[in-house]
């Protein structure tokens, strides 16, 4: 098995660990962290895909996509944290309680 395939599998595994945490926990900070973990898994997968054909001359287009993705993830995380802070200051609870009544 090639090294790049190992990185691809690791990326997918990290993505699904994040997906599990996103669905399993109610705390909104945990959900924000889970989305970040999922994103990191996707980035690892895309970068490993870029090096698949030739590990010394990787395809630069996926690299540029990942760079774009990282910047967008950072701003999305900041937006999520701002929403979380607003929800916490309005309701006093770190989760949405419109379920499990």
């Amino acid at each position: 098995m090639k090294t790049t395939m190992l990185f691809s599998i690791a990326g997918i595994a990290v993505f699904f660990i994040g997906l599990y945490c996103l669905m399993a926990y109610r705390h909104l900070l945990k959900k924000i962290i889970a989305v970040n973990v999922m994103g990191t898994g996707v980035f690892l997968f895309i970068v490993s895909i870029a090096a698949r054909a030739n590990i010394l001359q990787p395809d630069p287009v996926p690299h540029a996509m990942v760079l774009t993705g990282i910047v967008v993830t950072v701003s999305a995380t900041a937006f999520g944290l701002a929403l979380f802070k607003r929800i916490y200051s309005e309701t006093g609870k770190p989760y949405l309680d419109n379920e499990d009544k």
Binding site: M23, A24, P58, V61, V71, S75, A82
Partner: protein
């Protein structure tokens, strides 16, 4: 928490565990069979001379797929607009306020390191043309400098409130203006004339660096005077 609740949560987690493991195995079966693909590496290597820079990732980011980066800077602007509209005075429990006593070691050390961080971010901006680096990396380092200065209780300069809004918007506006001017000369969106491509890319990158630095600093810990 009653016993019924505990059972409910246990069942929910086991179900989700089985679900995500199953999805993982399905995706695994798909990616193992992915066909070999050369990708676009050779096409980019063949056209790198026309792009104005010698680093392939920078060439893709600001020349070949410049519209992606244009939209990305727009997304950053939207994110900061969203954060500013959600953030109200009472959600900001830890707004800028001087902590007494001022930590002498921290403030002296951050004074010492601030010019160095600025130098590193300028180096990253220049290095982007021929090596890994570029506008977003340089902007993130500069944003880290702003956060460091705020955390070490450095009083923000008087002019910072005036320039913040302009600097946040500058990256997108400069990029959009260049795209508009190029389209007015009759070429496609962001199709640079190859003899000026290097200078245009460097100009856009400088604007994006300044803009990214102010946006990230604003998103995570604004270094400003109280209104």
């Amino acid at each position: 928490m009653s016993e019924k609740d505990i059972n409910y949560h246990l069942i929910k987690r086991i179900f989700l565990g089985i679900l995500t493991t199953g999805l993982f195995l399905i995706v695994l079966a798909v990616i193992i069979r992915l066909p070999e693909n050369e990708g676009l590496e050779e096409i980019i290597r063949g056209n790198i001379d026309k792009s104005g820079v010698s680093n392939k990732v920078t060439a893709v980011l600001l020349n070949f797929r410049g519209y992606d980066t244009l939209i990305e800077v727009g997304v950053l602007l939207l994110a900061v607009a969203g954060v500013l509209s959600i953030r109200t005075a009472d959600t900001e429990i830890i707004r800028y306020q001087s902590v007494k006593p001022v930590d002498a070691v921290l403030s002296a050390f951050s004074r010492l390191i601030a010019p160095l961080i600025f130098l590193v971010s300028c180096y990253l901006l220049f290095a982007g043309a021929y090596a890994p680096g570029g506008a977003f990396q340089a902007g993130s380092v500069l944003a880290a400098l702003f956060v460091l200065l705020r955390l070490s209780d450095m009083p923000p300069p008087r002019w910072i409130n005036v320039i913040t809004a302009g600097m946040i918007a500058s990256g997108f506006l400069v990029f959009l203006a260049i795209a508009g001017v190029l389209m007015a000369t009759g070429v496609n969106l962001l199709q640079y004339p190859s003899e000026y491509a290097g200078s245009i890319i460097f100009f856009i990158e400088t604007a994006i660096m300044a803009s990214t630095a102010f946006i990230f600093a604003e998103l995570f810990s604004e270094w400003r005077h109280n209104r």
